[in-house]
Amino acid sequence: IMAADSDGEEDFVSYGTALEPLEEDEPLKKPIPLHEQTVTDEKGRYKRFHGAFTGGFSAGYFNTVGSKEGWTPSTFKSSRQQKAEKQHARPARPEDFMDEEDFGEHGIAPTEIHRSDEFASGCRNETAEMARAVNAQASLIPGDTLLEGFIRAASSSIGVELLRRMGWKEGQGVGPRVKRKARKQTSDSSRAYGCVLPPGGSEESEDDEEFAPENVTFAPKDVTPVDFTPRLGVQGLGYRGLDPGMALLGQAVPEHVDLFRPQSESRSKLFGESSRGKRRGGVAGQAFGIGALEDDDDEEVYHKDSMSRYDTVLAEEDPGDSLFGWTAPQQYGKTKGEVLEGSFLHTPLQIFPPPILPSNYRPMHRRPGVEVSRMSGISSALAEALRTSRGHMVTEDPQKGGRHQLDAGQRGALLGESTQQGKDSTTVTFPLDLDFKTNNLTVAMASGMAAAASSGLRQQQEALAAWKGKTSTQTFRPFENIPSKQARYEQYVSRLKQGDQDALEQSLDSGMTEWERSREREEFVRASILYRPSSSSLSSRFTSAKQQEDDNQVEVSRDEEGDVDDKEAAAKMKMFGKLTRESFEWHPDKLLCKRFNVPHPYPESVMVGLPKVKRDKFSVFNFLTVSDSQQLIGELRLQTVDVSSDRNSHPALSIHTFIVVLLVQKKSANQESSDEEEEEEEEEEEEEEEEEEEEEEEIRPPMDLFKAIFSGSSDQDSSSSEEEGDKAEEEKKGKTDANHLNLFSIGTTSASTPTASASTASASTPTLTPASSSTLTGLLHPPLRSFSFIICRRV
């Protein structure tokens, strides 16, 4: 109960029930003991309290169901007046077992009708209503919220009730009264519609409005809170989901008229407001593409937002803003003459006439002179010629260069155009009056080109050196699948044998395009080097036939092949361990590792199995037969003799052969050896040693290489001594056998310990020229492979 005293001197409000004032002389009341405290129900019957936790009051008879007589089951009774169905036929409802208190206001199933929040209109809360009206200004007709006023709830919340008791009136603010001019506090809308909501103190305040005396205080201005509509769902700001009612144009599912939601579209329809934009049929909405019913593909289905729609400055909008931005009507801008800052009025495009061409204009692009440096495919000689001569580069490119190295003139020539001579030629021109700077430039260019071209030249020279003077009839047929190409290659090889310097150019088909020719040129040179006849290094790469006769396995991994004898010997001597053990990197399948529950040892590996061992279809074993080795030895001897005789005529011989020659000469000078085989063998060995020295000077290869070489050479000593012993026996057998043995011993001696050779192979792989031919890898012994590379570089 509330007491609101508005006495003259003091206004105070008291809440709750006031205690009776204590009288001094009265003896203290004894508190009522617990058992005497009784609770009665609304009919005055006692209720026994059961305690806080067991809860509630007793039910029935001594906390049992039923009466003093006990619980009696209902009996079936049916009479004419009272049909049994009414009571018994229907299934029992929960209500049948509930007490009458349960149906009361505070029961568990109240049957009284009372207002639920769901249907409570918010009209009592005028401030909220006002806020909503303010917020909904843009999209609604004014006074739209009026309808809500028609429905009013009889009761208001306790807070409002309390405030009203304290003297608050609707429409006023809360707080101390202020001395100021009174203001109109009711909204215009409510007054315009016939004062549906007569504010409490409006009459008084309106009366005061005129004079506003000094001694009168006013209630503070009511504030309109911002209506915060809670956002439900997880969508972004401003998201409005699909409206299924919109899917079927117009006569769609009649939406429930929600009068109280200010932005409800159906309500705006109700008030005759046309919906924004012309909606077409079909489902459309954000986050969806064009629906199946949508026939217009051009329509922008995805919401596009631009920054121009947002304010960039935190400021109040200018009320008298006459600027319309980009969307201003044209005449508006014209009449006003006021333009947005940073923009200008639209003026018709000024069209300039095209420039008048000079009479001597030729629509040709002239290439700047520096471009020449890009052309790497020309030889140094050509560059020299280019520099000194008339300044016109000849299109013939003898060395190499793919399609992309050709310039426009060359391409034109390929296409059959006649090259334009003179000033407008697309080829590079150099004016005769070169200044000093340009001259330097060209010199630099020439040297660069020479460097680029020299590798190709070197290869050709090497091929020539290798083939020159050979009479061998055995040929590898690398281009067997293209007979014409193979024929050309053979022609090239035969010319090489004759020592023809222009062998390559002559053997190429002039009917082919330059690009094809240049490719073929490269291939031929490479093939000729690769299949060069029995250079000494090559011949030493073959193991004896003995091994192949022993086991008839066709596919033999080359890495192990050379070591089998060692292993066999070791196994016979029961020296198992390092000598018989070989370890390889092995890549298991990812799934296999998964199934075995172990992490993959090479997580980034894509291959499976052994990475090193390659069984090449075109391995050297396919080309060579056992009988060849005999021939090879013969050729080897031939080669050394030929080279020594022709050395002077071909200054660009490989250093390899040069060394051989030197050694031969030295040997012959020192001793007239009776046994040619021995000489040759020693020469081989020395040559290898020689090369080792070279190699040391040149670069420092990985340690493995050294190991391989030096351990190999130490093996050589021991094995060569063995061989000498063997030789004594072998000599009796005859030369052919001796050849075999010799050949084999070279192979084995050059091969070092298995691990070292394997590591050398891996170490020397990156230094190999990008011949990328698997045959090469098949051919070369790891240490020797690196030698041959060094030889190439030296020349």
Binding site: Q553, E555, V556, S557, E560, V564, K567, E568, A570, A571, K572, K574, F576, G577, K578, T580, R581, E582, S583, F584, E585, W586, H587, P588, D589, L591, L592, C593, R595, F596, N597, V598, P599, H600, P601, Y602, V608, G609, L610, V613
Partner: protein
């Protein structure tokens, strides 16, 4: 009373007493194998059947038929729920133990399949064939292609064993290969003579390999050095088994002279020469924990134990 000291641990016993002989009635027994716990045994017959026996009760539990030619090897999974077997018909079959049905028939080998093994979790079947490949079959997926084919061997793979993440294969090319899945390494040990059988020791440190030069060799797993060499038996032409005893104390090998040879592992001396019969001892299998040995000769399987028992001939 004085407390007697604990008796010294007895010297390892050898399965020298014949407990019983089982006539398998499936032609020649090509291989005999204990299951994972040693309570059952599998016999691979030349009459295309695979039989499951109880060791104790010597009863035939089940016969599995489905192979198209003689069965050469079999292995049971750790949980006894599955059996894999391989055959001369180039197939590997995964059996369901309970129903006896073929769960999977794996084709892919180009020749007869010599040996087959489950991995520890029975997720992969590994089979080695005369075609020189080891194929890893997935038992989990429905794929019928092997996960990986190990074709490093130059000749037929005669034997293979899997322990944890390591696969040991012996090949007729005279090399023992050990694939280490965890390290991604392949170690090849050259033995020289065609390998007939390979084994891991129980401690996983050594490998045992028997070869056709009538020698059994014990190699150190990590370095490949030879730790022991056991000779005296005859193994010249048949693919015969060898094994280690359950406590790694002895090395056992079949022999073509009708004996099983048993050497002391450390000393290399012949401790026992078990006379099985007159013919070649085809296969043998040592109990995983107890001292119990199975041997197979011709059509019969012998069970050997350490202590003499009442022998029941020819069940």
């Amino acid at each position: 009373m004085m407390a007697f000291p604990q008796p010294k641990p007895e010297a390892p016993q050898l399965p020298q007493h014949l407990h019983r002989t089982i006539d398998c009635k499936q032609g020649a027994v090509r291989a005999v194998r204990f299951n994972a716990d040693g309570n059952y045994l599998l016999t691979c017959g030349s009459d295309k059947s695979l039989k499951l026996w109880s060791v104790k009760g010597e009863a035939l539990l089940k016969s599995y038929s489905g192979h198209g030619y003689e069965v050469l090897d079999a292995d049971s999974s750790y949980d006894n729920s599955q059996i894999c077997s391989c055959s001369s018909d180039k197939t590997v079959i995964l059996w369901d133990v309970g129903t006896g049905q073929v769960t999977r028939k794996l084709r892919g080998h180009a020749g007869k399949v010599n040996c087959v093994q489950f991995n520890e979790e029975a997720t992969v079947i590994l089979s080695g064939s005369i075609d020189g490949t080891v194929r890893c079959w997935d038992t989990r997926s429905r794929r019928f292609e092997p996960i990986q084919v190990l074709d490093e061997a130059r000749d037929g793979v005669s034997s293979l064993k899997v322990v944890q993440h390591e696969l040991l294969t012996g090949s007729v090319d005279g090399r023992v290969r050990r694939y280490d899945l965890r390290m991604g390494q392949l170690h090849v040990d050259y033995i020289g003579s065609p390998i007939t059988c390979v084994c891991f020791s129980q401690d996983g440190q050594c490998t045992l390999s028997s070869s056709l030069d009538s020698t059994v060799r014990l190699l150190d797993k990590s370095t490949g050095e030879m730790l022991g060499e056991y000779t005296g038996h005859k193994m010249k032409g048949y693919k015969l088994d060898c094994c280690l005893s359950s406590k790694d104390t002895h090395v056992l090998s079949c022999s073509e002279d009708g004996h099983v040879y048993c050497w002391d592992l450390v000393e290399g001396s012949l401790s026992l020469k078990l006379a099985v019969g007159k013919a070649v001892v085809q296969s043998l299998s040592f109990h995983p924990t107890e001292t119990c040995l199975l041997t197979a000769m011709e059509g019969k399987v012998q069970v050997w134990g350490p202590n003499p028992e009442e022998t029941q001939e020819d069940v």
